[in-house]
């Protein structure tokens, strides 16, 4: 199945909006990019490639995503930072009854005040996007990071 041009534009817009919301620290918007239930996974490429299930973060519902937002904002004590997503154009790998299967490479740059910017995470997301009454949403988003060595911690979602 081929994607029509309007849907492709919507898809690109959704990826851009997703990154913009996170880069603006507008985390309350984050769960709204997903269906409920959903899959959100932040996993090392090492584990992904070996078929191992352990992920740094593994969420299954909007409720779990909202819980993470509370964690980022209120409970996980951390050095504050800006993050900047550089996301490649989504590459549609298949369109079928389940939805749009797409992947996008990304780099997230972390900048702390008074420090040089550094790469926090780089890799690709492997996504399943579905059309809902409210527009396109992630039914599944698997963020697979290449850098198994994380610079200390990942607090905000990617």
């Amino acid at each position: 199945m081929k994607l029509d041009i309007d849907t492709l534009l919507d898809l690109q817009q959704m990826y851009a909006d997703y990154a913009a919301a996170l880069d603006a620290g507008d985390f309350d918007r984050w769960p709204g990019f997903f269906t409920d239930p959903c899959v959100y996974r932040l996993q090392s490429r090492e584990n992904f490639d070996r078929g191992l299930p352990l992920a740094a973060l593994s969420f299954e519902s909007r409720g779990m995503l909202m819980d993470r937002v509370v964690g980022v904002r209120d409970t996980i004590y951390h050095d504050p930072y800006y993050q900047r997503h550089i996301v490649g154009a989504p590459r549609v790998t298949a369109v079928d009854a389940a939805g749009i299967h797409s992947e996008a490479s990304y780099v997230v740059i972390r900048t702390k005040r008074d420090r040089l910017a550094e790469i926090l995470s780089t890799g690709r997301s492997i996504d399943l996007v579905v059309r809902t009454e409210d527009g396109l949403r992630f039914a599944e988003r698997r963020v697979i990071f290449d850098n198994d060595l994380i610079p200390n911690s990942i607090i905000a979602p990617i």
Binding site: L42, A55, A56, G71, T75, Y77, D79, N152, S153, I155
Partner: protein, 133 residues
């Protein structure tokens, strides 16, 4: 959380294997943390989660869900790394100085409370003894 027979009652266990491995059971999550020194001021922190070969699919899923608590993005452990980095920045800000952890004194002793840094003093006292042998 589902109690497991081998706990023999509710437990939280973090056992340190001197000097650099921690084996932990917290709720149904089982893991090791391994500190691998790289250079002065630098170490790698390697997490390994494990289960048992005869875990039911439900228990396996439970362990994986609870893994959200741990690791570099975990709800209860991400801030450990952040605070250790703060502490290191503090130590390094005055290279000519020494840093003392004086909460509850300077000695090493058993206590009946957690308002103490005797554990880290005890670790380094033992470390010094081993390294000076």
């Amino acid at each position: 959380v589902v109690p497991e027979d081998w706990w023999q009652g509710h437990t939280v266990v973090m056992t340190t294997l001197f000097p650099s491995v921690i084996i932990q059971q917290q709720v149904n999550s089982l893991s090791t943390r391994h500190i691998q020194p790289v250079a002065p001021g630098v170490f790698d922190f390697v997490w390994t989660h494990f289960g048992f070969a005869d875990d039911s699919p439900e228990m396996k899923r439970r362990r994986l869900r609870q893994a959200n608590l741990f690791g570099p993005a975990g709800y209860v452990s991400a801030d450990d790394g952040e605070v250790i980095e703060f502490a290191q920045q503090g130590f390094e800000s005055t290279p000519g100085a020494r840093t003392l952890s004086e909460l509850d004194g300077r000695d090493v002793k058993p206590t009946e409370h957690m308002v103490t840094e005797t554990l880290i003093r005890g670790m380094f006292e033992y470390w010094r003894g081993v390294m000076q042998k």
